[in-house]
């Protein structure tokens, strides 16, 4: 059920973001989706890629600090209120969203959001009980092939 996400520490300085992207490009790794959380001084670049071990190696060889986290990819109906319904389910289950971001492309008529929950097991259960689809890595990547 979990998707592997890589996080990279980048200083908040001009040009710092280009370097990790270039390292991935040189290793022939395509970024499936990403988000940048930034503060005044530093940023955390969060990445979803197909071959995360290869990507991690390339980034570490380039001298970056890389963190591996498991996140959930959840399908959301692409209509007004789609996300609100999902968040209601999460809230009722007593789970907190630590951060979230959206997939760059839609899969069919659904949007896909990436979540980091404080209690991922409980989140998965609550979402499944409400009939929402949490995508596995295989499912996610095979669906992406189709788009």
């Amino acid at each position: 059920m979990r998707i592997t996400q890589l996080s990279v520490f980048v200083e908040n300085k001009p040009g710092r973001l280009a370097l990790p992207c270039r390292l991935l490009a040189q290793s022939g790794i395509n970024i499936v989706t990403l988000s940048l959380a930034d503060t005044q001084r530093f940023g955390i670049l969060r990445l979803i890629v197909r071959d995360w071990t290869k990507a991690k190696e390339a980034l570490e060889r380039g001298g970056f600090a890389v963190n591996v986290t498991e996140v959930l990819a959840v399908e959301v109906a692409d209509r007004p209120g789609g996300l609100a319904e999902l968040l209601d389910v999460i809230e009722r289950a007593g789970v907190n969203v630590e951060y979230m971001y959206a997939f760059a492309t839609k899969l069919g008529d659904k949007a896909v959001l990436v979540f980091r929950f404080d209690k991922p097991d409980e989140a998965v259960k609550a979402l499944a009980d409400s009939g929402m689809n949490v995508l596995s890595e295989v499912e996610l990547f095979s669906r992406m092939e189709g788009t």
Partner: protein, 447 residues
């Protein structure tokens, strides 16, 4: 000789190595030898180095006046800038025909300091390094991974020749390349490592990431130096690697590594007094202090041909420990130097040592990341920024965790050191490394 506790593999007591005999000579014999070598050194410096001759003439001092080590205080002190001003060869007491090697300091500020060695100097250095390694429990047959830098920096070659002369197997791997260090350590059955403490901490952290348990390897001894380190780091290193970690002390100006080393008792470093005569002075009044009192270490070379140094101010703060050591060596010990004297900085009127900041970092992170202290001045008020490299161990995907880490470090420093530092996490490998002593403090204040 009772071995102190730590892991079982560190417990084997080293057999006596014949090269260590000078470590055990009766003190009165040592005294006579020191005085005799001092007379030769002063005579040589006076006869061959214009700079020494001038300074002695100004004080109407003739070399004959210096008869014993008690007379040493009559001679003027030498400071680091004297060496810079005589760059490159001004203090040499031998001709290029007699000099067979040059080393130089990294020269982070201004000109580097060049140090010369005759054939005899190199042989003496090697003999001292054999004694250093034996003092740290390394024996013939040990496999030494020498992770000190090879090059102008004297660390690498000093340990190299010492290790070979001891009869150990030396792997001249030099510094950096942490993954390769770990692979070699495992595959070559390394039993002893020589490195800077911070390089070895990187090895510990990386080994943990790679799932390599250093405690299960053949490694049993670490000899660490070239930068000051603390007891907290010793505990961390000994526990994580299952080794005995020994502190050594040296200065490129004197010889390189090999001025002093710990024995298995690990309470102070035996100073190789037959080659370097130690004094402790009050750094303010410059008056010699008795054994046991804390002050600045001043060293005089006894026997160096190419570049004798007389009463060189090391700027390192320590004390001579007069009590005899349980290991039986008669060489006096100096107390462990936990901070470079020249790295102390004054912040809003307070004396602060990088080692205090370091202790706070270790307390928060459990290990020592690379760091740098940057001092600046904003509207006449001192500001201190602490830059800390992010390590995989502390890096998190959550902004709050990283901001929390910065705050936690700042709070720890405020509580233990009493200053408010602005903590910034920076990318790995962005704090400049210099060979030998790390440059921990950058002062951008225009005073």
């Amino acid at each position: 000789m009772t071995p102190t506790t730590t892991s079982l593999k560190a417990l084997s007591t080293a057999p006596f190595h014949p090269a260590s005999s000078p470590d055990y000579v009766p003190r009165e014999h040592l005294r006579r030898l020191q005085s005799q070598r001092l007379r030769d050194t002063v005579r040589r410096a006076y006869d061959r180095v214009g700079w020494y001759r001038q300074r002695m003439d100004q004080r109407e001092l003739k070399p004959d006046r210096i008869r014993t080590v008690e007379d040493l205080a009559l001679l003027p002190l030498t400071v680091k800038s004297d060496l810079r001003e005589n760059y490159p060869f001004g203090l040499f007491a031998a001709t290029m025909g007699q000099i067979v090697r040059l080393h130089a300091s990294a020269g982070t500020t201004g000109k580097p300091i060049v140090v010369a060695y005759t054939r005899n100097d190199l042989d003496a250095w090697t003999e001292i390094m054999v004694r250093v390694l034996a003092c740290c429990g390394i024996q013939p047959g040990d496999v030494i991974q020498n992770a000190f830098g090879y090059g102008l920096f004297a660390g690498g070659l000093g340990f190299h020749y010492g290790g070979e002369a001891l009869g150990a197997t030396v792997i001249p791997i030099s510094g950096a390349h942490t993954d390769r260090q770990i692979a070699v350590m495992k595959d070559f059955g390394v039993s002893a490592i020589c490195s800077t403490p911070s390089d070895f901490l990187h090895i510990i952290d990386r080994a943990e990431e790679m799932g390599v348990d250093l405690r299960k390897l053949a490694l049993r001894v670490g000899v660490f130096g070239a930068e000051p380190w603390t007891e907290a780091l010793r505990t961390r290193i000994e526990e994580a690697a299952g080794i005995k970690a020994y502190d050594i002390y040296g200065l490129s100006e004197m010889i390189g590594p090999g001025v002093a080393a710990e024995c298995h008792v690990q309470q102070g470093l035996h100073l190789f007094e037959d080659h370097f005569y130690p004094e402790i002075i009050d750094p303010e009044t410059r008056q010699p202090l008795p054994d046991g009192q804390e002050g600045e270490l001043v060293l005089t070379t006894l026997g160096k041909e190419a570049m004798p140094l007389i009463r060189f101010r090391t700027r390192d703060i320590t004390a001579i420990l007069p009590e005899p050591c349980p290991c039986g060596r008669t060489l006096r010990r100096i107390r462990r130097i936990t901070h470079g004297g020249d790295e102390m900085f004054v912040y809003r009127g307070m004396n602060v040592f990088p080692s205090q900041i370091e202790a706070a970092l270790v307390a928060v992170e459990g290990t020592l990341p690379r760091y740098q202290i940057v001092l600046s001045r904003d509207k006449g008020v001192d500001q201190v920024e602490l830059r800390v490299e992010v390590t995989p161990a502390v890096f998190s995907d959550r902004v709050s965790a990283l901001e929390g880490l910065e705050e936690k470090i700042a709070r720890q420093i405020e509580n233990s050191v009493g200053i408010r530092a602005h903590v910034s996490l920076v990318e790995p490998h962005t704090i400049p490394r210099t060979e030998g002593r790390a440059k921990r403090v950058v002062d951008q204040r225009q005073l």
